[in-house]
Each structure stands twice: as C-alpha cells, then as structure tokens.
Assembly symmetry: D2
Amino acid sequence: MIIPKPARLSPEQLAEISAIVEPFGCRIQPIIGAVRNIYAIVGDERDELMTNRLEGLPYIERVDKMQSPYKLMDRRSSLSGNKIKIGNLTIGEDLLVIAGQCTIDPKNPNYFYETAHAVKEAGANSIRGGVWKPRTNPYSFQGDNKSLDILMEAHRRTGLPVDAEVMDEHQLHLAIEAGVHMLQVGARNALNYSLLRAIGGAVASRPSTVVLLKRSIHMGPLNEFISAAEYIAAFGNPNILLCPRGTSPAIDGYRNHPDESITPLLKEKTWAPVVVDPSHSVGKAAYVPACALAAVAYGADGLCIESHISPSKGIGDDPKQALTPEMLAYTIREARQLWAARREARAHAPEGISPAK
Amino acid sequence: MIIPKPARLSPEQLAEISAIVEPFGCRIQPIIGAVRNIYAIVGDERDELMTNRLEGLPYIERVDKMQSPYKLMDRRSSLSGNKIKIGNLTIGEDLLVIAGQCTIDPKNPNYFYETAHAVKEAGANSIRGGVWKPRTNPYSFQGDNKSLDILMEAHRRTGLPVDAEVMDEHQLHLAIEAGVHMLQVGARNALNYSLLRAIGGAVASRPSTVVLLKRSIHMGPLNEFISAAEYIAAFGNPNILLCPRGTSPAIDGYRNHPDESITPLLKEKTWAPVVVDPSHSVGKAAYVPACALAAVAYGADGLCIESHISPSKGIGDDPKQALTPEMLAYTIREARQLWAARREARAHAPEGISPAK
Amino acid sequence: MIIPKPARLSPEQLAEISAIVEPFGCRIQPIIGAVRNIYAIVGDERDELMTNRLEGLPYIERVDKMQSPYKLMDRRSSLSGNKIKIGNLTIGEDLLVIAGQCTIDPKNPNYFYETAHAVKEAGANSIRGGVWKPRTNPYSFQGDNKSLDILMEAHRRTGLPVDAEVMDEHQLHLAIEAGVHMLQVGARNALNYSLLRAIGGAVASRPSTVVLLKRSIHMGPLNEFISAAEYIAAFGNPNILLCPRGTSPAIDGYRNHPDESITPLLKEKTWAPVVVDPSHSVGKAAYVPACALAAVAYGADGLCIESHISPSKGIGDDPKQALTPEMLAYTIREARQLWAARREARAHAPEGISPAK
Amino acid sequence: MIIPKPARLSPEQLAEISAIVEPFGCRIQPIIGAVRNIYAIVGDERDELMTNRLEGLPYIERVDKMQSPYKLMDRRSSLSGNKIKIGNLTIGEDLLVIAGQCTIDPKNPNYFYETAHAVKEAGANSIRGGVWKPRTNPYSFQGDNKSLDILMEAHRRTGLPVDAEVMDEHQLHLAIEAGVHMLQVGARNALNYSLLRAIGGAVASRPSTVVLLKRSIHMGPLNEFISAAEYIAAFGNPNILLCPRGTSPAIDGYRNHPDESITPLLKEKTWAPVVVDPSHSVGKAAYVPACALAAVAYGADGLCIESHISPSKGIGDDPKQALTPEMLAYTIREARQLWAARREARAHAPEGISPAK
C-alpha cells in the first residue's frame, strides 16, 4: 500500500512506480478517496528492495506492507503445530522453568553443583549456567571453557537438561560437541545474524537441541524479534523459545524496562512459545517473583530465572539478581498455581480475550 | 553529595562551594578516595536552588540528593497509616475495582445507566464516567456539563460512588458541588500544578473525596509522580490513589507502554495505594484482562477498567477499549482470586521479596 | 484505510462496517490484493469516534487515517501565509532570539533589569522572564505576581517585547492585562487543553500577542504537537511559534533528549515557525551554544535561550543552564551567521532537500 | 560510594560490607550526614563483581562508581594524543567525509565504480561500500564475497581508502587479507564482544587499519559505547572512530532517533574522534544534509554519508537514503565551511563552552 505525499499521483508518477514494481511481479491499483488517493500494490510486496526503491521516490510518504516477513515462524505457517520438548516436559503441558546461575565460577564448581540440585528440588525443568559471559568491561571475567565441563557434570548429577549462552562459532561448536541441550542467544547478539545462521545450521545436526532467543536489548519491533527466530529456523532448527528479558533504556528504576507484556502480541503473530526472563528485566532478586507472576498473567509458557545456592558468593549478576533456593521454590510454586488457574480460566473465558485459550 | 569533574577540588573551589551552601545551613565534608575525592553536603540538601547553584559551577559533574522530596507521601511519613475508603471498601481489605465508561454520551443516558448497573453486578466498587474529555483534536466531542447529572443519577440508582476527570477549576467546582466522590487527574494534566493545588484545596473542604492521580503520559521519574501527589496532599487532601496507566512512546504495539511493573517501586517510596488502569495501558479490550492480572501480580491495590454495556455504541475510547460486562465480570473474578492468593502467599513468603507482605 | 486481521472480510463483516461508516457520510471500497484485501474509507475519515468504532471490531487490525487533523495549522491551509511579528522582527527575515532568565527574582529586580539590557546588547529580539514557575517540588519557590511588574518594567527600559509562561487562567488574565507580548505554554501544560482554549480566546482580544508553545515533555507524536497549536488557533489566535525543548526520558546525559531534529518534519506538516529552546534540551550552559547551532542547521526560525547577568546568583534553572551575556553574544553571533549562510545555501541547493528553500 | 536504604548502617552491616570489599583491596569510610549517612569505598572500586556483591545486600540502595571503566580510551589516558590518519587526512585537520553505497551490487559493479569516482569528485576522503549486509529478513540479499573485489578495484581506480562492514571472523579475515583500510562494526554488532576482540587482534597485525565503531542501535549509555571501543583497543588497535548513527526506537518520524547531540558528551570522556552517520539517523536522503550540518555544529570530526550515482538503482538502503552526487557535493561543501567556521570561532570562544577549543 503506497501512501503518496500529494493528494494524488500524476500519470507520469504512476508510470514510474509501475516500472519499479513490475520487475517484482506486482502492479499498482489506485484507490480513489474523497480527499486523497492511495495506491495498492497487488502481488507479493515483501521484497525490501522494491519497498526501498518506492520509498526513495520524492513523492512517496511511505509504503505499508501487509504480509508476514517470517514464513516459518508465522502463527499460520505449517510449523505451527511444532511441539518443543525440554527434558520430560512438552511446552504447553505445564509451565517451563529454567533456573540456575548467571555465571559458573570455575574456581568453585561446588557452588554450581549445589545450585543445580537446589533448583531441581525447587521444581525447575532445566538448569542454566553461564560458561562464557558478555561483559561491558573488557577487563572483567569473561568465562572459561572449564565451566563447560562443570555444566555437563551438573547435568549428569541431576538428570536435567542444561542451557548455556554462546556468543560465537567457536563456543557454539564446543557447546554442541559437549551435548548442551539448550543454546541461548543473548540480548547483545540477538541481531548477530552470522551467529543466528550458524546456530540454525549447527543445531540442525542435533535436532533435539532447543534455542532460547533473547529479545534484543533495544526496544526493537516485534517483527524484528520474530525475524531473528526465522533466521534460526530457516537454517535448520525450528525449536525456538522467544525470551523477552527487559529492554533498554531502563527508566523506572529497574535494571531494564520489563517487557513481559509483549507476550500476547507475540502469540498473535507466531506459534513460538514465550519464555520470560524476569531476572534481567528487573535486575534485583526482590522484584523477580512479582515479575515472574506478571509474565504468567500475560500468558507466558515458561520462565528463565537466575538462582544461586548462596547469591552473595556468586559472580556475574548473581549477587544482585539471583534468587535463593527458598525464594525460587516459592516463585515456582506460585507461578505454577497461577499458570494452571489461567489455563482453566481461559478455557471458560468469554470470546475475544487475548491470549486466546 | 557532590561529584566533581577533576579528581580533587582546589582550596579555592572548596571555598566557593562553601560560600554557596552555608546560606542554606549546610557544610562540605571531603571524602578522600584513592583515585578521586567526592564531597558530602552535611545538612538539609533538598533545596533545588542550592543544587542548581552547585551544578552551575564548571568543575561540578553532578550533585546527588539523598533525601525524600515528599514529606507527606513518603512511606516513612506520619501519614503512612492513612486508610482510604471508597464506598464500603477500605483499600487493602479487598481489590478495589473502578469501572465504567470512558465518556458519558449525553444524548443516550440509558447506555450509562445500564453500564452502571452492569459494572455493579460484575463486582465493581465504584463507577467511572467521563463528563469532560481531553481530546487531541480540537474538533472532537469534548464532553458536556449535562453528563454530570447523568453521572450523579447513576450514583443514586446504584448506590456506588462515582468518579470523573476534571481538567480545570471550573469543572472542579462543578464536580465538587454535585458531590462526585472521586476526582481524577488525567495523564495530560498530571504535571499541571495549578490544577493539583486547586484540587488539594477544594477537596479539603469535603475530606471524604478521593483523588485518582494518573501518571504523566511521559515516562517521568517516580519522584515526579509522587511529588505531584505531594502537591495535592500539601494543599489539604491526602486521600490519593496513584494510577499507572501506560506511558508514551508506545513501542510494542499497545496504545501505551504498560507500566504496572512500577507498583513495587512505588510501594517502596510511598504509602499511597496503587490503582492500575490496564485499559489505557493496552488500549484494546482483548488485552485488558491479562494486563489487569499482571497489575495484581505486581501488588496493585486496585484496578480502573473501562467497560460499556455495548462497546461499539460507545463514544470516546470505549469502542476500542471498553470491556463488555461479561468480560469485566470475568476479569474482576480472576483478579480478585489472584489478589487473595497473593495476599495469602505474601504472608508466608521468604524474606526480602518486594512488595513486602 | 481499514487493515483487517483476516485475509479478507466476509459480506456480513462488510455490512457491519458499512453500518458504522455511513452515518459519518463515508462508504467502503475494497482493494483486492494477491494475499489479502484492505478496505478504503471513502469520505472524511477524520472523526475519531468512527475510527474508534471500527477499531473496536474484533476483526480489524487498525485504521490508517489519511487526512490532516489540523485545518488551520496545516502547511496547505489558507493560513499558511501568516506572518508573525515580534517587536520589529518579522519571522523569516532574520533569526529570532528570545533570551532572558528562567525565573525573575522578585527580591532582586536589578538582576533582571541588568539581564534585560545585556541580552538586548547581545542581540536578542525579545526578553523572557519567568514570573510564575512550575516546580516538581511543592515546597520550592513558585513565582510571584510582583515579578510581572518587573517584567513589564524591563520592557519599558529596553523597548523589547517580553515573554512569560502562564499556567492557568488567572495568570493568563494578569499577563494579558499587563500587556505581556508573548505568552508561553510550558512543556508540562502542552496538553492542558483547557488552558490552550483559554489562551486562544484571551489572546484573540489582543491579536498582536504571540504564543510560544513548548512541545510536551514526553516524546509525543508530531500530530499531537501541531494539534495543540490548532486548539489555540481554533479559539482565535494563529500567531503561534512551535518550540521543541527536549523530551523525556533523557538518556544520554543531558537534562532532556535534544529534539531540534524534528524541525524539518514540522515544516513539512505546518507553516508555523519553529523556535528551538536549547537551554532546556541540554540543561547545562556549556552545551547550549552547540545545540543552538544544530537547531539552526536543522532549519529553525528562532531560538529561546536562558541567560543571566550572573548565572550563579540566579534562581530556578539559571545557575545551571543560563548563559553569561558573553556566551550569549557569542552564540547569537554564530547562530545568525549560520542562519544567513543556510538561507543563502538553500536558495542554491539541489532539488529534494528538506527543509526546502 | 554506597547509598544504603536505611538512614544509617548498623555495625553488623558495616562489617559485612567490609568483608566484601577487603578482598578487592578496598575499605569503607562512612560519611555522616544530617539526615542519613553514605559510605565511601576507598580503593579501586571498578570491579563489577564487588559492586554486584554490594548491590545484592538487601540494605543497599545502589553503588555509585567514580572511576573510568576504560583505561585506554579515556580522555586522560596516555593514548589521548593518538593521531588517526585516513588516506592523506589526519583527523582534526579537516572534516573527514566517508561516502559511498550502503550495498555494492555484485551484478552491476559499474554503479559502484561510478559512485566511487563521484564521491571523490564531491570531496570525500574515503569510500564506503557494503560487501556483506545484516538484513532483518533472512530471505533478503545478504551480500556477496565478489563485492570485496569490486571494493578494492574502486580503491585502485580512485586512490582513496575504502571501508566495509564485517560481521564475523570469516569476513574479518577476508577483509584484512584484501587490504580494506577501514573496518566497520555495525550497530547490531556493537556489543558483539567476540567480534570486537577479534577485530582488535586482527587489525593489530596491520596497524594502519582504522575501525569505525557504530553505536548500538539501542540508546545504550555512553560508557557502554566507549567500553566497546576499549575492547578493540585492549586487543591491539587504538585507531577507532566512534560513530553515532541514530538509536531505536524512532519516535519522531525518522528511521532512527538522531543522536549527533552526544558528540560533546563523548568528547568529555574520550579522546576518540566522533564521526556521525546522518544517513542511518534520518533514513531519508532529503533530511541527510541538515543532520550532517547539525553533527558538525555539535563538534563532529567527520561524517559517514551514503551516496549513489543513481539512488533509485541502488540495492539495500540506497534507494531511500543515498544522496545523489550533486546533493553530496552540496553537503560536503556546506559541512566543511561550517567545520572551518566552528574551529575558528571555538578558538575565540568564551570559557566554559563544550566541546572545548
């Protein structure tokens, strides 16, 4: 749909537009308004190059695109029945909870083993542990390959699947070889398309691997978020969880701007499950339980929560934002109760409420 | 606390600073750091003029203030035991629900009477009805004094207290005279200090009147929000409900940026109850129930929800965002259940979770 | 233009839509696309109520409006030749500079008289002086009626027209009676429609009075800004200057987020002159000159700059952000040179550059 | 500096804090205020882990850090005299202009050769050409290795140094081997620390290579931006240009939120030159000249501008935002005049204006 600057386009302008769209298999249909005309593009208007060329014309205000830019992740795509399993849990049957430390301390592996047992005890389905860490300050601790062994050992000790962030192809291949069950793309790399492509391809060779894709740290539009998932799917693996984790700038006093509210909007566009990270959203343990419940109220399918057996001994973000095992158990219990109540209530809800039953 | 630009201040600079702060009854105490010094202001550092003068010095980076700018609304003030009643409900004993139309249609008063009965039936404690409306477009319908009679008639028919927005002193006096029980300050006037002062003074003469203060439409800092309440309290009436209602810019696809997440942050600073407006936050009926539940998850004391007996016949925002009575009843039921569950759970929660029990 | 949620609307849905738009004198014309249809509204689609009713239908994604909501302020309106005069300057013939104190100190009127002489000397066309002040903290100095006499005395001593902010009808009438030449609507009252109406009406009785309308402190859309001006014009006075002054939240380290960049966007929509306030944008004297020049680079017609004969003795914002007379003279000289160079260069610029010659 | 939640800390709390900071070589010094105390950390307080541990304590409000997190990029570091050369130009002697196409079209290399000649003619010092492109849509054209040959051929034909974006290590090594003179890190990879490290290391082996580091697409704090540069410097190459390019969300109607205004703020913190990209800030050719001039007004050392011999034939962003050679020549001429005028004026400016002479 072309919105021109003048009230109507001249025949010459229309001819110029037609010459642009025809090579893309499209044609133009004017819509005659009382005050001004607009012009429909009939055909597949998704090509960005065609749009850019049209928007480059001095008499065009903007071009509105009507079609989904994500073929595989669209809620109406053939993939929409895709069931994702994490350990014994199929997403949708109960609330998924991923919990564990921001950062594994390679000098003190027992903290992580104890955390792993504690989060299992508290009800988590999967254990997260940061092996490599993106740090603003180049002189801060950046993680250690040895932590990968600690992570896999925690898996062996608890039987739970494990999750780690990868930031480049080298780390990706180490993680895949070690057998990490869930790979996380962090907020700073959410638009690192080279990495997304590599993950899609690498994971395709081990199709049970799941990708937890964090939302970019800026308030990017939802289409951009889902398109990042489309990269991973298009290169071979559709087992993707979308993870809102708060955006920047943080205005109100939290670490980030909480964005669990996008859950219903995502669910209208894509079939992908939504797993909210309240820990990075609010950035302080005291606020995490309330944010986790709000995410469930908005329809989230899962939560990703930082927890540590002894937060003040943690490294990375843990001293600030990790829940104690007791706080985690409380949060999981409350969140699962609310999740079940919401599922029950949605089944009997009046028409027209989002997210739908 | 003065943060200088250079590593340390010279004796001449210190003398200049002392000359500024002494007339305000303060003195300066240097804090010697390994790499740089900072300088504490000992005394009451709240005066903005002193701060501005200090920040005007070319060698000062910034001044951090340590004290509350709101004497009455502060959580630690003598007013913190203030109990606010709306009709039969004392805030804190159950979830407050204010519900009703964005705008009363003076040509069709029966819609409002039917809405009033329906929201009472659905469980609301108070009825809202827009008499006068702030509209972006000067040529849109701006409300009508006749609607004030319709509002009060709805009160007489249902027995419920009623709420209306006032935008200037003239409307304020009409509303007070008519006996409106709750006065609303809208987001566009949230920093209209002349109006806030007038409301504080006028309401003081009828002390049972409650003020519902919406947060400013921009993402203003929380101190600014609470200071706006301080104006009303300082001029005579402390019965104030703080109402987050979404902020601008709206990035993600809602009408505004939902901000119910500020509830725990407000509760750490002020004793004032928090009543969230999910209708203006999300701007579309389908999303209101989820947003309402998220607000309760974050610890809100009440909700302010738009509802209409027949939304498509409404005027103002109602066709888009008003819930049907059936959707409202569903939302209130679910929200009250969650509110009760949260209260119960908070009583047994581990230490350190916000908002506190 | 109606964008539906499904690919196409059913005949029943189309009938329901027609029943909504026909009472507003409109009809629906489907535009058949390859993948989905959209539906043009033929007729005057500006009525918000019609739009709201349409957007309330569960199968409508959104409604795009094509027409200007501001009849008088639109660049193509009959008012677009309106010439605004401030003292001896007709806007457009040279760069307008309004300069003076944030706040007049009623206890020290000589500061203001000296400032008035100094800004005249530095090249300003008009003198600003805050008589009444909106302050976040209710216990801060709020201004004083006596300052109005000081302001008018400064006019008599210098011959320059004077400018003051008014925040309510009482102040408005005092200012009009005293003969203030330019009335300022501050950022906190930029959407206070009762005040805008009152100003439009009051000023209509003294048609040479000019209104300096600040942009709302939130990043409101430009249509909202221009619509606020439309209120003033619709109630009787079209002599309006639009004043970007930085928006909130301030992310980068300034007092606000500088927004002089909207100047070309405003000029595409409205004929109203743009007068940028760099002082509130950046909030610190050191940055004001660069911001002022950037505003001129973007095509601003004028500047509104805080200045004080001795900033550290000022009250209000002056100690932080007021320029010394020497800095002001430097800024005006540089800005006028750039303004003249830009005017000259624009006259010979290649086609298609905004703002146009 | 530790800001506690209560008015003063207990001896037990102080002991707990001391136990945290002492292993980091720090100690605590209380600062006794009239109303509350704060607590200085004496020693090197930069370690994030210590800060996180302190902020994890339930009685700590926040910790303010006083020291620079960037050792090499800090304006006061030993590197601050570092002179960066691009071709024949030493930054600071004249305005640097990098110009060229968003994307090289490998099917039509002559467009790029003609563009290269045209931008040289227009006055550019360096030629940019996108070889590989980050695209939101995985199905859009992503660039082509063949374009690297075209880029280097353009260098040979014009004698000007060339610039290309690299998004992963593979592209980085291809670009280094081919002899690309300036490597660009795009906004989506601005926090991809693995890539930053790799670039620092690879470029160190060819020390004349310059890195153009775009600001992250979100409104990240300036410290984060400069810390990203610190990564590159710390791994071996300090020849870094900081490039503001507009941030997201874009509120006002441009492609991004123009952010050239951060230039003086950057210059207070770091010695690195600032090269503004007006093309991505505003996203439309018509607005680029005004934005470029505003950047120079704010003190920018250079500009990075998209240009194309025939924009409507371009691919990528060029049809929308590339300047014609005629518009580019106009912009460079005006910008260099303003740059020279600013340099001259700054030399005679009153004290206290930023950026300094």
